[in-house]
């Protein structure tokens, strides 16, 4: 009976069910007094239609939110609505069943005709309840909106308004946040009361006024309800709240909104719900809320809104205030807001409104982000979403060497989705991203992002420095973590590190046995060369060797591989080594040093920890190396394919 309300059989059924349930509610309650609700034919039809509107699924109860909407659309004062809810028995049973709904509708009709809200009043013949704020088709159904008794623009509750607004907002980007000054069918009351009108009000009216989206708000909400599987827990609670409260039990969050109601007449102001929605969308593209979304990612995202490209271009110009080709969170919110506004028919401004400026938005976004679910319908096709989850995984990991293993898998995905290459994460992950950005096809954003990421890389070096237990150990660590990075700064930093440690390093090598210094020399350049992605091995080799103040040797990888974990030079990592061999080779290396150096025991411990760490790093890097090699091959193949295509196309295009 709930759905497909059309004509006779359904109406008859509804009437029968209504009477039955009315009797039952009367029985269980005490207040209704055994009423048999006699609905006329037209009433039955309309009520069932309304009920089906409010009640999407084959469930017995109407959705509280839509019911609340409907009631508010009747433009009765909230007290009246409250009364109606009580009288119809919804509060008692806790939901709006068909019986309660029909009684409520009848009571609304009564109230609109000026009768008191009581059961007795609905025994009479009444005109149909009128809901002016519904969509145009429902308006046509419900007769002239002009005959409203006392159009009272009073405040339906902030609670309700936020509820319904939130729901409408979440479901569809198309929900307008129209100001109350949109063309309205009923004369507005004083501006002050008008301002307090909830957005749903104004928005409902504006929708009837503007010829937009007669796309069923209810249907939208219904789909919202259906879609928001994960969020339903959150919002479901709220709908229950709304349902059970046409009384005034506000949720704590909502009470804050009262203060912001006076903003609502400004279409360029972002409400809290919208902000949360935007933040969630941002998160789906980029889990780090303090970082950026690259231009291409944002382009794909906003192109989905199906706005024409010139408009999107203009929106970008407005919102990318620092003109860096990437959107920070406030910039993204502004852009999204403009898209939403444009979709709802607002003309884009020439300049960014004050309320959308990033500084303003950043200052405003002080409340913690609510953990709302993502809206998969909008973001599911984003390639970044999957990566975003990877990134969140990587972000969760600390800045330890073991991170790299986790990052490897992400590194793979990073490669394949070069778009995200420019997004920067925390310290060590960034180094790998530099790598992946370099190997994969690079975009200009990547280059732009590098300056930003370079600063991060320097901090990671400092952290790595702190990790070092002894003066000898630090240099390889930055080297190890930035070994794949090609940014100049890293090389400079490395130079600085090695220079800083030169003094500390000078004493140990000379007393070493003759073969060792040469090995130590070779280690430095070789460890660099071993990283196939490095593009500055010669320079680094020079730096290293100069740091070791010895001859620059270009040793084959295998030789230094044996010395890899050599203690004095602090376990420089190479991908191909047998750790055991190195341990054994390093141990004898250690022993002769004991008599030579006084801090030998300390060094030993340090050495062993360094060995362990280096082993882990080596394993990780070895894996990464192999993967990157594969990717390099793939990229080469692609390049060849593209070049052949180009060759084929060339004779065709003559310009």
């Amino acid at each position: 009976m709930e759905q497909g309300a059309t004509g006779g059989p359904a109406a008859a059924a509804t009437a029968a069910a209504t009477t039955a349930s009315t009797a039952s509610t009367a029985a269980c309650g005490g207040g209704t007094g055994g009423l048999l609700l006699a609905l006329s034919e037209s009433e039955q039809q309309r009520y069932s239609e309304l009920f089906s509107r409010c009640c999407p699924a084959p469930e017995a109860a109407a959705g509280g939110s839509s019911v609340g909407e409907l009631f508010r659309a009747s433009q009765l004062p909230p007290d009246t609505l409250h009364q109606i809810t009580e009288v119809c028995g919804a509060k008692r049973v806790g939901y709006f069943g068909p019986a309660q709904f029909y009684i409520a509708l009848k009571l609304i009709a009564a109230a609109q005709s000026g009768f008191p809200v009581r059961i007795e009043s609905i025994k009479n013949e009444l005109p149909l309840p009128q809901f002016t704020a519904l969509k145009s088709d429902s308006e046509a159904r419900y007769g002239t909106p002009a005959e409203l008794h006392g159009v009272k623009f009073q405040v339906p509750h902030a609670n309700l308004e936020k509820n319904s607004y939130k729901r409408t907002d979440e479901g569809d980007k198309q929900e307008p946040k129209s100001p109350p000054m949109s063309p309205i069918c009923s004369p507005p009351a004083s501006p002050s009361t008008y301002q307090r009108i909830p957005l749903t009000y104004g928005y409902g009216k504006s929708r009837s006024g503007l010829e937009q989206q007669h796309g069923a708000p209810y249907e939208v909400r219904h789909t919202t309800h259906q879609q928001d599987g994960p969020s339903s827990g959150n919002y479901g609670a709220k709908t229950a709240l709304a349902c059970s409260t046409l009384n005034r039990s506000l949720s704590a969050e909502r009470e804050q909104q009262d203060s912001s109601t006076h903003y609502l007449d400004d279409p360029w102001r972002i409400t809290e719900e919208q902000r949360d929605y935007y933040i969630n969308q941002f998160r789906s593209l980029q889990p780090d809320l303090s970082s950026f979304i690259s231009g291409s990612v944002a382009k794909n995202f906003f192109t989905k809104s199906k706005l024409p490209i010139p408009e999107l271009s203009h929106i970008w110009e407005l919102s990318d205030v620092d003109c860096d080709g990437a959107l920070t969170l406030p910039e993204f919110c502004a852009a999204f807001h403009l898209v939403v506004a444009r979709k709802n028919g607002y003309q884009l401004p020439e300049t960014l409104p004050e309320t959308l400026l990033p500084e303003y938005l950043q200052a405003a976004s002080l409340k913690p982000i609510r953990d709302c679910a993502l809206f998969d319908s909008y973001s599911e096709s984003l390639p970044g979403s999957q990566q975003a989850r990877d990134f969140s995984r990587t972000e969760a990991s600390a800045e330890e060497v073991p991170d790299k293993s986790a990052l490897l898998q992400d590194g793979k995905k990073d490669d394949k989705q070069a778009l995200k290459g420019s997004i920067t994460l925390k310290t060590i992950p960034k180094e790998f991203q530099h790598l992946t950005v370099k190997t994969a096809a690079q975009e200009s954003n990547a280059f732009r992002a590098r300056p930003r990421s370079r600063s991060y890389s320097s901090t990671s070096i400092e952290d790595a420095m702190k990790k070092g237990e002894e003066p000898p150990t630090p240099p390889p660590r930055p080297q190890k973590s930035h070994s794949r990075a090609s940014s100049l700064d890293l090389n400079k930093i490395f130079q600085q590190n090695t220079q800083a440690l030169r003094s500390g390093w000078l004493p140990p090598p000379p007393p070493a046995l003759p073969p060792r210094p040469s090995a130590s020399q070779t280690e430095q350049p070789s460890e660099v060369e071993l990283h196939p992605q490095m593009n500055r091995p010669p320079s680094q080799a020079e730096e290293n060797s100069s740091a070791k103040k010895e001859v620059v040797l270009a040793q084959p990888p295998s030789k230094p591989a044996r010395r890899k974990l050599w203690t004095e030079t602090q376990g420089l990592d190479t991908p191909e080594l047998s750790p055991t061999v190195n341990v054994t080779s390093s141990l004898p290396a250690v022993k002769p040093h004991l008599p030579v150096q006084k801090q030998s025991s300390k060094q030993k411990r340090a050495i062993q920890t360094a060995i362990r760490k280096n082993k882990e790093a080596n394993a990780v890097l070895a894996r990464l190396n192999s993967e990157l090699q594969q990717q390099l091959k793939e990229v080469h193949k692609e390049r060849i394919a593209l070049e052949t295509q180009l060759e084929q196309l060339r004779p065709v295009t003559v310009l």
């Binding site: 231009g295 271009s313 970008w316 110009e317 990318d320 003109c323 080709g325 020439e350």
Partner: protein, 139 residues
């Protein structure tokens, strides 16, 4: 008095044309088109030297009795050409340079927009406003 401002792509088709006097627009277009030859000549003249050493500001391309044409080229061979009224002697070289610099900055801002494909006509309102203000300011 800046009469016209044109941005040309590396392939010498116009990306953006803006001229102030409503009449004789075609004349300015023609002038700018011919000045492209001069620009190319200046670029190629430095072919021996590295691109890095080439100055972006090309200076006065050629003067006529009515106006002067100034040129500027970016490292990606995007050319900016400006036609200035000869009667305005107040406009000095430095001012022209600064105007080109502003143009270049605005152009890079447009480039930052991911919705802009390099080689498209420039329709940005922000850019229009900037050019207008720049041209008006000197008038």
């Amino acid at each position: 008095l800046v009469l016209a401002c044109v941005i040309c792509s590396p392939q010498n088709y116009p990306l953006y044309i803006r001229s102030i006097p409503a009449e004789n627009e075609l004349k300015f277009h023609y002038t700018v088109h011919t000045s492209l030859d001069v620009v190319d000549e200046k670029i190629s003249a430095m072919g021996k030297a590295l691109v890095d050493q080439r100055e972006l500001y090309l200076g006065l391309l050629y003067p006529t009795e009515d106006y002067k044409v100034y040129g500027y080229v970016t490292n990606s061979k995007v050319k900016f050409v400006m036609v200035v009224d000869s009667s305005n002697t107040a406009l000095r070289d430095n001012e022209i340079r600064s105007m080109f610099r502003k143009l270049h900055n605005s152009y890079t801002d447009i480039m930052c927009n991911p919705f802009y494909n390099p080689g498209d006509r420039i329709h940005s309102r922000t850019f229009d406003n900037m050019v207008n203000s720049m041209m008006m300011q000197v008038c």
